[in-house]
Symmetry: C2
Subunit: 457 residues, 2 copies
Amino acid sequence: MPIPAAASDALARLLGSRFSQAQADRDLHAQSETAHAAPPPDAVAWPLSTDEVSAILALCHEHRVPVIGWGTGTSLEGHALATQGGLVLDLMRMDRVLDIRPGDLQADVQPGLTREALNQDLRATGLFFSVDPGANASLGGMAATRASGTTAVRYGTMRDNVLALQVVLADGRVIRTGTRAAKSSAGYDLTGLFVGSEGTLGIITELTLRLHGQPEEVAAAVCAFPTLDAAVECVTMTIQSGIPMARIEFVDADAARAFNAFSGAALHEQPHLMVEFHGSPASVAEDARRFGELAAECGGQGFDWATTPEQRAQLWRMRHGAYRACLALRPGATAVVTDVCVPMSHLPEAVAAAAADIRAEGLLGPMVGHVGDGNFHSQILVMPGDAAELGAAKRVALRMAERALAVGGTISGEHGIGIGKRPLMAAQHGEALGPMRAIKQALDPHGIMNPGKLIPD
Amino acid sequence: MPIPAAASDALARLLGSRFSQAQADRDLHAQSETAHAAPPPDAVAWPLSTDEVSAILALCHEHRVPVIGWGTGTSLEGHALATQGGLVLDLMRMDRVLDIRPGDLQADVQPGLTREALNQDLRATGLFFSVDPGANASLGGMAATRASGTTAVRYGTMRDNVLALQVVLADGRVIRTGTRAAKSSAGYDLTGLFVGSEGTLGIITELTLRLHGQPEEVAAAVCAFPTLDAAVECVTMTIQSGIPMARIEFVDADAARAFNAFSGAALHEQPHLMVEFHGSPASVAEDARRFGELAAECGGQGFDWATTPEQRAQLWRMRHGAYRACLALRPGATAVVTDVCVPMSHLPEAVAAAAADIRAEGLLGPMVGHVGDGNFHSQILVMPGDAAELGAAKRVALRMAERALAVGGTISGEHGIGIGKRPLMAAQHGEALGPMRAIKQALDPHGIMNPGKLIPD
C-alpha cells in the first residue's frame, strides 16, 4: 500500500528535499547484511530534529503509514527493513554530541551518532563509551536493539549504559525517560522498555549514555586451544573464578582460518580465545596471571600478547571483521547468523552441540562468541537461492535456539528479534507475549511503528 | 467499600484459615514506618503458592477488589497500605529458596524470603546476594520497589540483580519474564518493567537473582571530616577517580550523635564517611591507599579500620540502624524521609542546600546517604499531630526534590513512589506519565493492583 498522497504531500512540504520517493533512495534503504528479503520502502525521510520526527510521526499516525527507523543498516535480523512498505526514517543526519559531562561520566547524543564517532569526541576526556557490537553502529540503533558485544562481560550492554532517552511516540508526542542520576526508583522503567523495543514503540531522538574511565593499563592476548571443548571450558572456569575480564572472545578453527585468509592473521587453525584485561598495572598483571593459569590447565598455549595500542587495535579489528572474513570463506555466500545465549554452566555443552549439528548437516558455519556472557554465534554460510541449504541452516539455527531455551537461555543474546527470530518468540515467552502485545497496542494503537517486527502475529 | 460476600466466601473456601477478615489481622497490616496514615485493609490472605496467588487475583479481578502485596512492611513510602481498602496479600509464607546454581551465580527464590535468610543459605557456596537496603526486607518487596542501598555503588540495584521473574497478572494469568542467561535482546524487557512497579502491574511470585562471589579480602573504615562539604567533596572526587568502592556512605553530625546515643558508638559529632573495599589483598590495599590520599586532601582524619568480620558487622549494623537511631534522637517522633538522587557533580551543592534548608526551617533532620550513587536522605523528625512541623518538613522535602529535578536528578533514588512521592511524579516525568498510565491501563484494566500508588490520579 503506497503512502497516501495527503501524507506524502504534507511530508514533502515539511521536509523539502529531505523527503524522497525516488527509487534510488528507496533502494539504498532496502539492504540487509543477512539472508532476509529486503524490499524497498515507499519513501525515505531524513529528519534533522526531534520536532521534525514528531511532526512526521503525527502525520504517519493520522494516515496509518508504517514508520521504520534506520541507522547504519548493520542489523543482522532485518530490523530496519520495510517489509510492509511505508516510510523509512533515516536518522543519520541527527548525529551530534549534545553534551559531555565528564564529572558525571555521561554524554548526551543524537541517535545517528555512531559509537566510534562518540569515542573520537571523548578521547581528550579520559573517558570512553564501552558498548562495542563490532559494527560502527549508530547509538540510536544500538539502544533500539539492546546491543552489546565484546565488552559487555565487564561494562554491560546497552541496557546498562543508557540512562535516559528522549522518545517520540507513535502519535508524535515527545517524552523523556530516565534521569541523569545513577539510579532511580521513581515509576516504571520506561528507559528499559524502549531499549530493545526495536522501533516498535517509538523513535529514540536523544540518548544519555553512561561513560567509563579509560583504564590505566590494558593488556590483550590471543591463545590457542587443542579443542573447542577445552577453549570453552576455560571460559566457564574463568568467569566462575571471578576474574574481571574486560573481554573474553571465542573463535573456532574455521573462524581462525577466515582471519588468516581475510585479515592476514597467522593463527593456528585451531580454536582460540581472545582476551583483554583492564585496570591498574598491578591488577592487570594479577588478572593476566590467574587467567594464564586456568588457560594452561585447559591446554591453552602460545599466548600472543598485543602490547602496543596499535597491536591491540589490530587484534580487535580482526575480531570485528569476523563477519566479512567468514563470508569471504565462501565467495558469493550470504549468512544465517545464530545468536543464542545460555547460562555459563551450560556453555560448553551448548557450543559442542552446535558444532556437531553444523557438521552433521554438512554446513560451513564458523563460530565466534562473546562467551564471557554465554553468548555465541554461528555464521552459517549459504548460497543465495539454494533452498535446501537455507533450509538446513535454518534447522540448525532452530535446534540451537531450542537447546538454549531448554537450559533457561535466550534465542537472542544481542542481535534482537527483528524478522528473523519472530517465529521463536512464542517458544521463549509463552504467556508473556500477552503483556508485550498489550503494551504495543497501548502505545501504538494503529500499529504504525516498525510493523512486522519483534512481536509475532 | 468492603469486599463483596461472593468474593470473600470464595477466598475463604480457597484458603481456609489463611484468609482473614479479623480486626487483629487487618490491624497487623495497617502499619507504616513513616508518617503516612495507615488504614487497615478489609481482609488479609496468606497464599502458599503461585497457583493460589493466581486464583486469588482472578477472583479479585472478577469482583473488582483491590489487591495490595505485603512483605516485611518496611517500605518508607506507604507502598503496602490499603488506602482504598481491599485485600492485603501477605506473601511471607512463600519464603523458600527454590534453587541455587553456583556455577551460574544465580538463585531462584520465592518473594517472601528475606535477603538475610538468602545470604544465610548462601554461606557455604562462597557467594552472596549483594543488594542491601538496610532493613531485612523481603526479596519480592525489594524487587517491587527497585530497592538498592549501601552496596549499589559496586554491585548495582535490584534492576541489575534480578534476571527473571514469575509474575501473576491482574486477571490471574501467570507469566515468566527474563531468562537465566546473562543478557538477552529478545523482546520487551518485562523484567525491568515489573521491577519497580510497586505491585501496580502484578504480583511477583518467583525471582531469579544474580549472585556475586564473596570477595577474597574486605576492609572497612570510618573517617571523620571537618565539614559536611569536605566529606561530600571527598565522595565526588573518589567516584570520579574510578576507585571501585564497595560502599561509600555519608553520615552527618546529627546522625553521628544518634549512633553514639543509640548504638553505643564513640564517633566525633562530625560528618563521617563509612567505606568498604572488596577485592584481592593487593587491590584492596591499593584502593584503600588511593582513597586515603583523597580523604586526606579533603581534611579527613582518624581513620578507624574495622579489621575483623565482627567489627565490620558492627559498623554496618550501626549504619543500618540509622533510621531507628535517628528516631530515638527525639522520643515520640515520626519521620518524613527524603530520598533524592543527583548526578555526582551536583552532590556537594545538593547536600549543602538541603542542610541549610533544614536548619532554616528550625527542623532536626539527620542526613545519611548512599552518596557513591549521588543518593542521600534526610530523616526529618516531626511530632505526630503537629501540623505546622509536618508542613515545614514537607516543604523542605519538596524543595529538595525540586532542586534534584533542576539538575537532572530523581525524586526517589531507592525508596520508590508509593503514596508519599506521587504528588511529584508529574514534575519528574511530565508527558512520560502518559505511557505509564497507558501501560497500567493495559495490564490492569480494572485498576485493582495496589490502587492509589505510584501513578498520580
